[in-house]
Every structure is written in structure tokens, then in C-alpha cells.
Symmetry: C2
Subunit: 351 residues, 2 copies
Amino acid sequence: MSKHEIAVIPGDGIGNEVVPAALDVLNTVAEVHGGITFEFTNFPWNCDYYLKHGQMMPEDGLNTLQSFEAIFLGAVGDPAKVADHISLWGLLIKIRREFEQVINIRPAKFINGIVSPLTNPNDFDLIVVRENSEGEYSEVGGRIHKGEDQIAIQNAIFTRKGTERAIRYAFELAAKRRGHVTSATKSNGIFHSMPFWDEVFTETSRDYPETRTSSYHIDALAAFFVTKPHIFDVIVASNLFGDILTDIGAAIMGSIGIAPAANINLNGKYPSMFEPVHGSAPDICGRGIANPTGQIWTAKMMLDHLGQQELGQKVLTAMEETILSGIKTPDIGGNASTKEMTEDICRRLKK
Amino acid sequence: MSKHEIAVIPGDGIGNEVVPAALDVLNTVAEVHGGITFEFTNFPWNCDYYLKHGQMMPEDGLNTLQSFEAIFLGAVGDPAKVADHISLWGLLIKIRREFEQVINIRPAKFINGIVSPLTNPNDFDLIVVRENSEGEYSEVGGRIHKGEDQIAIQNAIFTRKGTERAIRYAFELAAKRRGHVTSATKSNGIFHSMPFWDEVFTETSRDYPETRTSSYHIDALAAFFVTKPHIFDVIVASNLFGDILTDIGAAIMGSIGIAPAANINLNGKYPSMFEPVHGSAPDICGRGIANPTGQIWTAKMMLDHLGQQELGQKVLTAMEETILSGIKTPDIGGNASTKEMTEDICRRLKK
Ligand SMILES: CC(C)[C@H](C(=O)O)[C@@H](O)C(=O)O
Ligand SMILES: CC(C)[C@H](C(=O)O)[C@@H](O)C(=O)O
């Protein structure tokens, strides 16, 4: 019997609708399986918390989270309440950084039964490995002068260690898949960091002579996600490029509401964190129609991480069957509610 | 009778195939119209030139170009010959910078007769106004340490002047169109430059109370280019974000081979430069199948800039008619050659 203690942060907006849905699924998995239990501890850290306390989480928030095996997060941010860079850097990015969740894994694949915006979605099945700790997302920089003369400087910082770690992760992953790694670069326009990225990619690739490699500038790569996503297996990208590509990945799947993500701590010192790609979607919040599958697929990634790959696969299968049966939220062409979709997935798990 | 002296740089790869095609179209326009002539002067500056001379253009290259009314460029770069960041910064980006071509205008619209990768292309018609002189494309930065310890630092620099100029240009343009400006930001993840961008956008928008505004993070915006491009009118974006969005814009039109661009000098001190969005495509070079329409549409943008809007419109109409008639290159679903497509466009202009 394995027991998993999970910290749960529903966060803002629809996070509070899809996280309970995904917990229902996890509880169902535990119930049906028998050999596994979850203990979920809820933390109400979000923009409302900020409005009351002036920070997104308590002083000792990270300490508290530290004792859990994993963190399950909904969505953070609600610009009507708190400026995004404050809410995100105060919670989401803070946890990613402080807990050394240096890799963000984000799969995208053709899901039968979802109306794709592409004429020919071509059964693509790809994973973006996103560097998650440095690069363009950096607190280094600032402003000088005021008014008309003001200048903002933003430093993107690429370390050899951080860059190589992400690239190596991608190669290891590709070895278990179709053996093809694509590098997202922009060394023709971004003068210092991207030629460096290319060098590290080329050097690291020498350790994996069996692996096929390709490299595209991010502009072309983003376009290829639309015109021929089936050519990709594993894509390795910087923090920003990974962010952009995975939203396009979600778009070609048919909805941002479906894409999952895992923020992985590799050195075992801190918990990893699981959060879908979508945001808090204040516009649809409260209507009971948020698509729970991004969060549920994210739960599947957490199961994989906890060593429960078989159960993870069951969740994914149930989810795909529910979608194919037509029980789906409006964003993917159905008229089911969050609750109906979740219940149908649970029902299939119990079969 | 107006005479226009144009500097022509075919550049690398298919630049040498599509530039002559577009010049044929321009000559046809002049011939038919009567009141206008072009004098084209050819400059063979490209990667081969670099291999011979160690630089992409002669020492006094910029001086030479300075005396022309406009620059008509094909494509630069061929990584098999010269590393991209060397060829591009030695010619394309050098000209953009030194000639203060601070705005890059890039339209994308649904073209009837091109097979779109989108199920529902929805008659979109948008223009990306790309900041073209600073931002993420900067020579500022470098490396420290070697081997395992190496760190690359890349500075993105956003000035108030440069940022506001691009945003203002977008608002002025929108006033002549559907009155809607969308800002491409990433202020939730990019800590210093993007909140600054947002502030300048908000402040500048106050001068245009009639204009509808929206603002999306680049990840969501890239996804919306795929799922609902028809919601956009004018989009204003940083150098990098504009680059990425316009390749997606080309993809949803159906081919990178069709998208045009204009690098605009606003202060009248230097010539503007006209170049399509696509690259030199060494893979298809020499086969006579390069799509000439990106370069021809770019010629149309040059005509507009030269005050010949009416002729520009004629070129666009002829191009659209040719495509609709099915005479098109393989990339957009036909089997015509570069030459056949160009000849058909010229034929229509002569009618
Ligand atoms: C070639 C490259 C430097 C260039 C850019 O990124 O500006 C190109 O992609 C473009 O869009 O004009
Ligand atoms: C909310 C934002 C800071 C975040 C990011 O860009 O990392 C999000 O877009 C994501 O992809 O997880």
C-alpha cells in the first residue's frame, strides 16, 4: 500500500473548478486500485490571498510545501486583482525556482474526438521539454531614467549547466520514444544566448549518436507546429520558446483546456509540481463549463511521476474514451459541464 | 513621369529566383502604366560574397545604398556556408539598424484559392506591426567562463522611444482600418521589459480613445493566431514576438512563401527596405518552384511606399486572381513553376 501526500493549490479562477474534478479522478483511481491512497492538503494561495496578506503565500509557504511528495496546482493569476508579474513570480515561478523544478514537460498529441483547428492534424504526438529555471525568465534587469528617456533592460541568462540539463533530458526522453530531438533556436536574430544554445545542443548530441536531430529557428518552428506537427517527436526549448510552443501545441490539439504539464525537480531535493498549461480563465469562471481534462491529464503525469504509470495510462484512456463518446465541454465542441465530463471519466475508471 | 531608383539585393538561395520574378512584375507595371519607371541596380551581397571577401557587403556598402529611394531584398542566409548570426547581422539586420528602419509591417490575410492548414480560416485580415530596431535582438551581452561553467547573457533593451514609436504606428494604422489594436506582451513571465511594454501601451492608447485595445501574452496570442485569427486587426509586437507571430501568420495563410514585409524608415533620412518573410530555402533552390508571391506582394508594399497605392492594389489583385485560377507553385497546392506563376500575373496586369 503506497500513500502519497500531495499539496494542492487550486489557485485562481477555474483552478477552483478543475482541481476538485481532477482530485475526484485521483480518488476514484485510489478507490478502484486499492493499493494506493492519497492525502490531499489544500492551500488557498491565490490573488485573493494576496489582496488580504500582501503576498501570494505565507512567509513559510515553501517550508510547508517542502514536506509533500508532490504539488498539484490549478492556475495562478487574475490581472483584475493583482498584476500578473506579481502573482506569478510570487507563487508559480517562485515554486518552480526555489524547488529547482528545472524541467517542464509538456506533451501534445492528436486526441480523437476533439475538433481540431487543423485541416489535417495528422496524428501528431510530441513532447516539449522546456527549460524551466532560467533563460528569458529572469529577475535580472531593471530600468534607468524616467518618462521619455526611460529604458528597460531585461537579461536573459543561459548557463551551460541549465541548458545542457534540459537538452540532455530531451535526448534521454527521445531514446524511449521515436529517437528524434528538435532544438528550438533563434541564433540568427538573438545574438549571444542562442548561438550558445546551439553549441550546447551540438555538443550534447554527440553523446547520443543514435538520435536524429534537427534545429529550427523559433519562428519557423512555430509555423511548423501548425503546418506539419507530425514531424516532431521531442522538442527542447528555452523557457520562453517552450512557453510559446506549448500554447500552440494546445491550440492544435483543439483547446488550451486540454494541455498538461509537469515541473520536474531532478535532484530529488524538492517536490515536483503538476499544473496544466491553461490559465485561470476568469472569463468563464463560475459557469461550470471549464474543461477539466488539462487538469486530469496533469494528474496522469503526476501518477507517472509517483511511479504509477499503469494507473496513469488508465486515466488517459478513460479521458480519451469520454471525449470520443461526445461527453465534452463547449471548448472542444460539446455541451457537457465540468461535472458531467469528470463523472463520465470516473465511471469509466470504475468499470 | 516618376522615376524610382531601387537597390536590389537578391541575397541567397531562392532570393535569386523570386527577386527577378518580382522585378518582372514591377517592369510590367511600369510598362502598362506609362507614368512610372524603375531603375534597378543589383548588388550581389550574400553568403558567397562573404566567403570571398570576409564580409557580407563592402565597407562602403551602406553609403552606396544610401542614395537609393528603396531597397528590394530577397533573402539572406545559408547556414551551410556562413553561420546565420554572422550573415544576418552583417547584412539584413545591419541595414535595418543603420538605416533606422524601426518598423516592420507584415500583413497576413486569407487568400482565396490557397489551401489553408486551418479548418476554418474565417477570412482573417491582420497586420503585425513589429518593432524592428531593438528589444530582444541586441548585440549587448556576452559570455563569461568556459566549458561547464560558461554562462551566456543576452540583454533585451526596450527604450521608451522605440516602444512608443511602434505602438503609435500601430494605432495610426488601426485608425485607417478596423480600429482595433492588440498588444503582444509576456509581462507575466518576462519581468522587466514586458511590464514596461504594457505601461507604454496603456499610456499611448490614451491618445486614441476611439481605438479598441486588447492585450494578450504571446503564448496565448500565438495560439489565437491558430484558433481565431479573425479577431485581430492590427497587432503590435516586439522584435522577437513580431518575428514569431508573422511566421504563424504566414503558416495560416497556407505558406511561408506568400508573406510580405516592409522595413520602414520613418524619419526620411534613409531608404526603407522591402523583403518577404520567408528565408533563402536552400532545400528547394535551383528547382524553379519557389513561390514568387511573397516577393511580389512585397513589391506591392514597395509600390505603396513609393506613393503608387493604385498600382500596388493592381499587383495584389492580379496575384490573387492568378492564385484563384489555380496557377500556383507546389507549396500552395499547385504544380506551376515560379516562371509560370509570374508570367500569369504579368499577363493579367497587361489586360
Ligand atoms: C533572418 C532573421 C534574422 C529574421 C528576423 O528574425 O528578423 C527573419 O526571421 C525575419 O523575420 O525577417
Ligand atoms: C503564467 C506564466 C508565467 C506561465 C509561463 O509563462 O511560464 C504560463 O504561461 C505557463 O506556461 O506555465
